[in-house]
């Protein structure tokens, strides 16, 4: 029952709301003072925030706030701080020659860490996250190199690419001997057997290796060398080792001979800065196959 005079609960000394259900009253306990003041403080905070920071959307703009804070400025500042933090080592990396980087353990660690990130962002799409390659994309962990595994040659390949659009690109391709009518189907099969025999792989006992050797000498030796060990200035692979870019089975070799090969690597000059190219070159060099 509501009355004019507020009811006071005897036990707690607190007024009641005057509501009563079956004799059970409801205490009108005020908000705790500390809570109330915190609540007021948050309101004050909110109003200050509207004034100081960007907050209200307008029709074609928004309230900018008196601090002039902008998320893009914050990002720019963060990036500048990062650059300043990396500064001394980055300058050292930029100034150093490739062989100097590898000779300095601290710089080598820094370059590898930088190179790993750049590699995973740009190179892993084809070469794989660990540089293990795939069919047609060379494994960068092994010691077999199409264009050379020294620091400088790796850097050059990265910079200008292979069969890319860059003027200084590495050039050279495997002709389509079958499709372009340079060799008959039977000749291609014969030379494929011979190529397999170069690296000690099993061949058909009936295969005519002497004929294959002659076809090889007439057509293939120009690029792959008379002994089949390849020529790096043409990107012609060594056919006598255990590593095959497309695969060692006869069908794959025949396919290459018939249709030719010519996979492409883009030029990174202009896309990555010189420091990043150096870092990636050092990273690839230290994956395992680097040649001294």
């Amino acid at each position: 029952m509501a009355t004019d005079k507020p009811d006071v609960d005897a036990v707690t000394g607190t007024t009641t709301t005057g509501h009563s259900w079956d004799g059970i009253g409801e205490l009108d306990t005020p908000l705790p003072r500390w809570w109330l003041w915190l609540f007021y403080a948050t309101i004050a905070w909110g109003i200050a925030y509207w004034i100081l920071y960007p907050s209200w959307p307008l029709l074609f703009s928004y309230t900018k706030g008196t601090f002039g804070w902008h998320s893009r400025d914050a990002v720019t500042q963060d990036l500048a701080e990062l650059k300043a933090q990396r500064g001394p080592m980055m300058d050292k990396l930029t100034a150093a020659r490739l062989d100097q980087i590898v000779a300095d353990p601290q710089l080598l660690d820094f370059a590898r860490a930088q190179g790993r990130v750049t590699f995973r962002d740009n190179c892993a799409g084809c070469h794989g996250a660990g540089g293990a390659g795939a069919r047609g994309y060379p494994n960068l962990n092994d010691d077999d190199w199409l264009w050379g595994g020294k620091l400088d040659t790796i850097a050059q390949t990265i910079r200008f690419g292979v069969r890319s659009t860059h003027d200084k690109t590495r050039m050279g391709s495997m002709p389509a001997f079958g499709r372009d009518g340079m060799l008959q189907r039977a000749e291609i099969a014969t030379v494929a057997d011979y190529v397999r025999s170069l690296s000690g792989l099993a061949v058909d006992p009936k295969a005519d290796l002497a004929a294959g050797k002659k076809i090889f000498a007439d057509n293939c030796a120009t690029c792959h060398g008379p002994d089949g060990k390849g020529k790096r200035d043409l990107g012609a692979p060594n056919l006598t080792d255990a590593i095959w870019l497309y695969g060692p089975d006869k069908a794959t070799i025949v396919d290459g001979l018939w249709n030719g090969r010519g996979s492409v690597m883009p030029a990174w000059d202009g896309r990555l800065d010189e420091t990043a190219i150096k870092a990636v070159a050092v990273y690839v060099f230290t994956l395992g196959g680097g040649e001294k």
Binding site: T12, G128, G288
Partner: protein, 515 residues
């Protein structure tokens, strides 16, 4: 049990006053000699709500107060001054005896240096701390709460300041009752200023544990220190000021879990600050009880002077028996002993004792004090075990370490001459404070050839890794083998580092995998 219940239902403490004279005591006792209220209803069905009663603890002198002063000086002295203690570790490490170096991921404690992966020492310390706490509780109750807890120590310190400026209990009560005057406001302002200074210095000492103390003091004074240092000083100033100045016993009564836990850990042999009601009851005035004694009738030693209540920092009446609010600081023992000396009765009416002994004395039996019992013996045994394990690991701690992680992609590489190669990320730890050279080796594959990628200086097949003082170094290790392995082979490899100068070794296990 009957005695217990009677004591619980004592009338609420009345009146105020500092330590009374003998004359006052006798006259007070006449007033206090009201019969014990024996109404169970009031005790069990009292109000569920109780507003906080402001406590004005009275100054006291005596044995336990002296112990508390010593503990306060020692603990606060350690806390405030320890960061300035120097410890020479040579040129490659900080010279601060106790330092938690977060940026460099190191913890220094005098001759001990701990790396992040050795954080189990901290775990061990925490286990030891918990067990020592349990042991204290089993031997003599809340020793921690009464003497050692920072909440108690800082509250003690703040109360010294309070008494110095606003006067002892009686004076302070009179001032508060007289309403606001300029003088009272000035005194309050001075008190809060001093409190804030102590709190501020408490926060200041805290941050000194995280950086070179003298340098940081200079930086703080010249406003060159990092923002985080000022922020932490601010946070700890606030917590110290509010916890020790304003919240005080509320922390022990409502915030701290330890009173609840220790109540579950105690047993009947644990010594506690106990009112010996077998000797104290029936309480009455000095004269009345003296007269009763002359007539050969039972008379207790308690004269109901309430000194034990007035000195209590948590406002407890110890005569009510074991109490959750009692932090067992022993100040009521000192207060009661002073009164007993004045009225010519033996001291220790309140003492470290057990309820069990009271019951035994009432039954005419001898006291039992059993400090050595299964509970305490077990605690000591576990403390010795954990402490022993920690000491052992500390004594056998190596100053070098090796961890090896196999490449996940590719798992193996076939080389042009048909050899198999596995790549590993190897981290060499040098915990010594000078540069060391380690040779890397691996056992398990007869023809394993090791090289560190990019390394041009080591002898062929014997890679040497140089690691700076108190540092780690990560290198890429390539292991090559010509062995013909069965399909999906995983040959266990045991990697080793050997310090070329001291021949000290560390090992790590991994695998060599093939197609």
């Amino acid at each position: 049990m009957a005695a217990d219940e009677k004591i619980v239902t004592l009338p609420a403490p009345r009146g105020a006053g500092s330590e009374p004279t003998l004359g006052e005591l006798t006259s007070m006792a006449v007033v206090a000699a009201s019969p014990l209220v024996d109404d169970e209803d009031e005790a069990t069905h009292g109000p569920l709500y109780a507003p906080r009663r402001k406590i004005y603890p009275q100054r006291v002198r005596g044995t336990y107060r002296r112990i508390k002063w010593v503990v306060l000086c020692v603990t606060l002295g350690i806390y405030y001054l320890l960061p300035f203690v120097r410890w020479d570790r040579g040129p490659n490490a900080p010279a601060q005896a106790v330092l938690i170096d977060f940026p460099a991921h190191r913890f220094y404690f005098f001759f001990i240096e701990i790396w992040p992966q050795e954080v189990y020492y901290i775990t061990g310390l925490l286990i030891l701390a918990a067990l020592v706490l349990f042991l204290m509780n089993a031997v003599a109750g809340r020793i921690w709460c009464g003497y050692l807890c920072p909440q108690t120590v800082w509250t003690d310190l703040f109360q010294v300041v309070e008494r110095w400026i606003e006067g002892d209990r009686r004076e302070h009560l009179q001032r508060d009752a007289a309403g606001w005057t300029v003088e009272r406001a000035a005194r309050a302002a001075a008190k809060h200023f001093l409190w804030l200074m102590i709190a501020w210095w408490t926060g200041g000492a805290w941050v000194l544990y995280f950086a070179d103390a003298p340098t940081l003091v200079k930086d703080l004074a010249t406003f060159q220190a990092p923002v985080v240092a000022y922020a932490w000083i601010g946070i700890l100033t606030f917590t110290t000021y509010s916890l020790a100045g304003h919240m005080r016993e509320q922390v022990c009564l409502y915030m701290c879990p330890w009173p609840r836990i220790q109540a579950a850990l105690t047993d009947e042999f644990a010594l506690n600050v106990t009112y010996r009601y077998d000797r104290g009851e029936p309480r009455g005035s000095v004269k009345k009880n003296a007269a009763l004694r002359e007539r050969g009738q039972p008379a207790g030693d308690c004269i109901d002077c309430l000194q034990c209540v007035h000195v209590c920092p948590t406002g407890v009446d110890i005569r009510g028996g074991p109490n959750l609010g009692c932090i067992q600081c022993g100040l009521c023992i000192d207060a009661c002993d002073a009164v007993m000396a004045k009225i010519g009765r033996p001291p220790r009416l309140i003492a470290y004792d057990t309820d069990l002994n009271i019951k035994r004395r009432e039954a005419g039996q001898d006291n039992v004090f059993k400090i050595v019992r299964v509970r305490t013996a077990l605690y000591v045994a576990i403390i010795a075990l954990v402490g022993g394990v920690m000491l052992y690991t500390l004594a056998t701690r190596t100053s070098e370490g090796l961890s090896v992680l196999h490449d996940r992609n590719p798992i193996f590489v076939r080389l042009s001459d048909g050899a198999l190669r596995n790549g590993y990320t190897v981290r060499v730890l040098n915990k010594a404070l000078e540069t060391r050279r380690f040779m890397l080796a691996a056992d398990g594959l007869a023809d394993a050839f090791l090289e560190v990628a990019g390394d041009t200086t080591s002898p062929v097949g014997y890679p040497i890794v140089e690691v700076g003082p108190d540092q780690t170094r990560e290198v890429r290790l390539l292991v090559t083998s010509y062995q013909h392995l069965p399909p999906a082979a995983a040959v266990p490899l045991s990697f080793r580092i050997i310090d070329l100068a001291t021949k000290r070794k560390a090992t790590a296990a991994d695998f060599f995998r093939g197609p």
